[in-house]
């Protein structure tokens, strides 16, 4: 029950009463004012009337200076109780008669003082016709008495008005209660019961006598809204249940947060992955679980979403138990109850990151010895070489090969051999400084990279000689393998750098050569490589010079290595360039391509390759390509792809040759893709629109960044032949290939293995899930004529009969 002062009827009556009081007061005041104006005239008229009555006797008294008559006149005036003093004067101001009584002591005298003044003075000249002034009458009137009637009347008006308005207010209170408040209270009671009743009623019931009035309309309208609300609520409940189910069944963690980062809702996966209860999570902010998240970052995300850019962030979440794990966050904006919220979809990247790390580790380290492998060594070597060149100090590369290791393997078994290799690595590392690198580049081959020895050649030679001798001493001690003492020696080849333009590969080759020199000289020793330095430089100069004329002299040619599917059917070719120089003979691509890259000749050579390959494609198409044929792969060099005019160049080639780009595949290497990724994507998408497909050559040897991979419009991954080559005996290579195959599947990319040379390799690859192959096992590269023949005869692979074609 509402208290009286809160009831509508009371409020209405109160305001009505106040209004009535206000208006009534205004009317009363207006009445009093009008009355007062009239009263003022009345006051003047009253005194004037008395004076007029007594004027003639007064004139006579003044004229005749008759004091007795004057006294009678004054007495006559004083009979009016309002006059408390009167006097009659002659024309010279002499008082003929005067009378005075004390003014009244009225408690409302202040009111009279306010209205007319406490004392009112009247004076009338006494004039004998025509114009003889014989005196004057002065009269003092008591304002309190003259206004007493008016004051009494005014007080009555106010009091009666007040009483009337109070009665009116009480009457209005009752009336409003009966007509408005009571029905409303009944409706309110019904409304309260609506939500309290377990079974929801259909609405309000009409009040007796109010079916047709506004309350009836109110009930009717409310019932309509109520019904509509019921409908909406059930719809909302269904939708909410649906979305809740979607959210809960999502495999990804979903977090709903406001734009301040306060978590509003989570799904079960989020609770599971973060190891929190949902009640605990909704008390946290994104910053509590993600150190990288902040209000500023949320603002940036929101802006990106509003600008239509996808928001995908790699970050790390912190579980309740403190464990931090990598996540990929994708954000969307949703509006709930008019409030913008972030809906974050979180994918646990732990497994993927582990796989990436594992790929990286396997790609760069030798799992057996935990030493860097050839690839990492190559990277470090190149880096070291450039630093040494810049700072003009001398470093050394030591190539170590265990002597008669095969014998250990054969006698003690591969496991013992592996154990020996691991111990060898430990022993080598024990001889090195922190900044030195020891790597295992294959079998029993180790390489030591010493970045900085000295600025002086002889000092450097002495130092590296000491290192070699120390290594020989270390290896002179027996290895304890399976309770057996195994003695083994090592042959060491040393190359110093930097000298001339020797690359890392050159240095490795030099050290290798020096090592063979040691072997040749009886093992268990070391040799410096020096003699071939100038020869190598000269050879490079000759190649560069000859390469300028290679296209003009038609010395270049293309060979095509078939690519086959699991059924041995032809699925494509890879175009491979060959250079046959009149005097230099066959120059392998790995000799002249780097020089072409370096000199820029690769641009014209690349164009020549594309034109040649397109012509060949047209010829093959004219011959009739098998249904299984999908691609003619063309290798694109980094410099060629990076060239700003590459896309136009490709368009021009297509226009010139009329080739169908949908049968052309551009092979790129990983290194070409990671720099300026946005421009690369744009360029690739443009070429995609022309019909080209893309593959990544030598996959696994580069950066292997999955993040970039998923953004690139790739079609095919080519597993590097180095993994394939070792896949039979090296479990690490198998693991790498397995991972790459799984990754390609996950990214929805086709995959082909390069360098398949044996059926054993093919079988292993097949078991790992590989379905496309390329390599000598199936076919060596063939020339254009044979290519046409192969296509024309629909041959199956492996193609044993053409092995001697090249």
């Amino acid at each position: 029950m509402l208290p009286l002062r809160k009831r509508l009827s009371y409020q209405q009556a109160k305001w009505a009463l106040l209004l009535v009081l206000f208006l009534g007061s205004i009317v009363s005041v207006a009445q009093i004012v009008i009355d007062w104006q009239h009263e003022q005239k009345h006051v003047d008229a009253r005194v004037e009337k008395i004076l007029n009555i007594l004027k003639d006797p007064a004139i006579q008294a003044a004229y005749s200076l008759d004091r007795q008559l004057a006294a009678q006149v004054i007495s006559g005036l004083m009979k009016d109780d309002a006059i408390f003093e009167a006097e009659l004067k002659d024309d010279f101001g002499g008082i003929i008669a005067r009378q005075r009584v004390a003014p009244s002591d009225d408690h409302l005298g202040w009111l009279a003082e306010l209205l007319v003044g406490r004392i009112i003075f009247f004076s009338t000249p006494l004039i004998v016709e025509p114009d003889l002034r014989v005196g004057q009458i002065n009269v003092w009137v008591d304002g309190a008495i003259i206004t007493s009637d008016f004051v009494s009347r005014s007080i009555r008006v106010l009091l009666f008005g007040l009483a009337r308005n109070l009665v009116l207010g009480i009457a209005l209170l009752g009336l409003f209660y009966v007509l408005t408040s009571r029905p409303l209270a009944q409706l309110t009671q019904q409304l309260k019961q609506l939500d309290q009743q377990a079974r929801r009623p259909k609405g309000l019931t009409y009040l007796d006598g109010h079916q047709e009035d506004e309350l009836g309309i109110l009930v009717e309208t409310f019932n309509q809204v109520w019904a509509s609300r019921d409908q909406t609520e059930s719809l909302l409940a269904e939708k909410e249940a649906y979305f809740r189910a979607v959210m809960e069944q999502s495999g990804e963690a979903l977090i709903l947060a406001d734009l301040e980062g306060n978590i509003l809702d989570v799904n079960a996966e989020a609770c599971r992955s973060l190891a929190y209860d949902s009640d605990e999570l909704v008390k946290l902010t994104l910053a509590d679980i993600d150190a990288n998240s902040s209000h500023r970052s949320i603002v940036i995300w929101v802006r990106a979403i509003e600008e239509g850019r996808p928001v995908s962030i790699d970050s790390h979440f912190r579980r309740k138990d403190g464990l931090v794990y990598p996540v990929e966050i994708r954000c969307n904006l949703v509006t709930l109850n008019g409030q913008k919220c972030l809906l974050a979809s979180i994918r646990d990247m732990s497994e993927r990151r582990k796989a990436e790390d594992r790929v990286h580790y396997l790609a760069y380290y030798d799992d057996l010895t935990k030493l860097p492998n050839r690839r990492l060594l190559q990277n470090r070597l190149e880096l070291t070489l450039s630093v040494a060149r810049r700072h003009q100090h001398i470093g050394a590369l030591l190539f170590l090969d265990l002597d008669r290791f095969k014998m250990v393997n054969d006698s003690l078994g591969h496991a013992a051999g592996d154990e020996l290799l691991a111990l060898t690595a430990v022993r080598i590392k024990g001889c090195l400084r922190e900044e030195d690198t020891a790597a295992r580049i294959g079998g029993d081959e180790f390489v030591i990279l010493v970045p900085e020895l000295s600025d002086d050649l002889s000092v450097a030679q002495n130092l590296v000689r000491q290192l070699a001798q120390r290594l020989l001493v270390e290896f002179s001690l027996p290895f304890n393998i399976r309770d057996q003492s195994v003695y083994i020696t090592v042959s060491i080849g040393i190359s110093l750098f930097p000298f001339n333009d020797a690359t890392g590969s050159d240095l490795l080759q030099q050290a290798d050569t020096a090592m063979y020199q040691t072997k040749a000289k009886g093992r268990n020793g070391y040799y410096f490589y020096r003699a071939e330095m100038q020869t190598h430089a000269n050879e490079r100069l000759i190649i560069e010079k000859a390469l300028h004329l290679a296209i003009e002299n038609a010395e270049l040619s293309l060979q095509y290595q078939p690519q086959v599917n699991a059924q041995g059917e032809l699925s494509g070719f890879e175009a491979l360039i060959r250079w046959n120089h009149p005097t230099l003979g066959r120059v392998p691509p790995d000799r002249f391509i780097p020089i072409a890259e370096e000199t820029g000749l690769i641009l014209s050579i690349g164009r020549w390759v594309m034109v040649e390959a397109c012509h060949q494609l047209l010829i093959l198409q004219a011959k009739g390509l098998p249904k299984t044929f999908k691609r003619l792969a063309i290798n694109i060099s980094p410099r060629q792809f990076a060239d700003d005019g590459f896309v136009d160049e490709v368009r021009d080639v297509l226009r010139l040759t009329g080739a169908d780009a949908s049968f052309l595949e551009l092979e790129l290497t990983e290194g070409m893709l990671v720099k300026n990724i946005d421009a690369v994507i744009l360029k690739m998408k443009t070429l995609k629109q022309l019909g080209f497909s893309f593959s990544i050559d030598d996959f696994g040897t580069g950066y292997s960044s999955l993040r970039y991979l998923k953004h690139l419009p790739l079609d095919l991954l080519k597993v590097d032949q180095s993994f394939v080559r070792d896949i039979v005996w090296d479990s690490n290579s198998r693991a790498i290939v397995h991972t790459i195959i799984a990754m390609a599947s996950h990214l929805d990319l086709a995959l082909i293995a390069e360098g398949v040379e044996t059926d054993e390799e093919r079988q292993i690859l097949s078991k790992l899930g590989c379905k496309n192959y390329q390599g000598y096992y199936f076919s060596r590269p063939v020339n254009a004529e044979l290519l046409v023949s192969l296509v024309g005869h629909r041959v199956e692979f492996p193609l044993l009969r053409v092995e001697s074609i090249e």
């Binding site: 004229y63 005749s64 200076l65 008759d66 004091r67 007795q68 008559l69 002659d90 010279f92 014989v134």
Partner: protein, 273 residues
């Protein structure tokens, strides 16, 4: 003395004074001063001027007008209540007033001309008055006495500490003694008799002359405060002397029935006093 006064008066009258009009104030007090504009009973006494307008009449007015006229001075008369006349004389508002008895109180502010006419005093009682009519002023002490306010009788009674009541006029005084509880109306003989006759009950009143009071003369009382009042008093005295010598004074007095000292008016003949 009259000779010297006459000479002095003649010396005073400069050529510029001749032809001047003097204004004197008076109260309607028949037969001495008659306001012909209000008193219809005295029309027989009225004087018509050469321009046809009536001139104020009365014994004193005609004597004074005549006296000044022989001195070459024109006169006008203005009527107002006697108290107002006396107040104006006292304050110097007017040159002088008539007809004026000589009293101590008036000497303070007025100079008196030579007597113009005479008037006796009378204790006026109703004819059916049962009490003893007094012979002396002291005899009034035991009676209800009424006098005209401001008249000379007032100072007489006050000097003798005799209680009295006042009336505003002769008419009121006569009415009071005739119709109210007043025993004696103490007033001038001739004036009262003239008014009583006008009121129609002269025969119902008894006039008794106070034994110790001589007949008083009427003068012109000149205001001491009024400029050159002394000169005009002397001129009047000279004029009066001339008309007395010429006999005009006697003629005028005969016209009003008052000829000399202690004379009663002829129409009062038959009264026991």
């Amino acid at each position: 003395m009259p000779l010297y006064a006459s000479l002095f008066a003649s010396m005073l009258l400069s050529p510029f004074s001749v032809g001047q009009t003097l204004t004197l104030s008076a109260e309607h007090y028949p037969p001495y001063t008659i306001d012909v504009s209000t008193d219809t009973d005295t029309t027989n006494l009225a004087i018509t001027n050469i321009d046809g307008k009536k001139m104020h009449a009365g014994l004193d007015i005609e004597l004074i007008r005549h006296a000044y006229a022989v001195m070459g001075v024109d006169t006008k008369f203005k009527f107002s209540p006697w108290k107002r006349v006396m107040r104006n004389v006292r304050l110097g508002n007017i040159l002088g007033g008539i007809s004026c008895r000589r009293t101590k109180s008036r000497e303070a502010f007025a100079d008196f001309s030579n007597p113009v006419s005479q008037s006796g005093l009378a204790f006026i009682t109703r004819s059916d008055f049962k009490g003893k009519i007094p012979q002396y002023l002291a005899g009034l002490k035991s009676l209800n006495v009424v006098i005209v306010s401001g008249y000379a009788q007032q100072s007489m009674l006050e000097s003798r500490r005799i209680n009295y009541s006042t009336a505003s006029s002769l008419t009121q005084g006569l009415n009071l003694v005739q119709h109210r509880d007043y025993d004696v109306f103490f007033s001038g003989w001739e004036g009262s008799a003239y008014e009583a006759k006008r009121l129609g009950y002269l025969d119902k009143l008894v006039f008794t002359r106070p034994a110790t009071i001589a007949t008083n003369a009427f003068h012109v009382c000149f205001s001491k405060m009024y400029a050159e009042s002394g000169k005009w008093r002397l001129v009047l005295n000279e004029g009066l002397e001339k008309i007395r010598i010429q006999g005009a004074m006697t003629t005028i007095k005969q016209k009003y029935g008052i000829q000399g000292k202690y004379d009663s008016m002829s129409y009062l003949a038959g009264n026991k006093n």
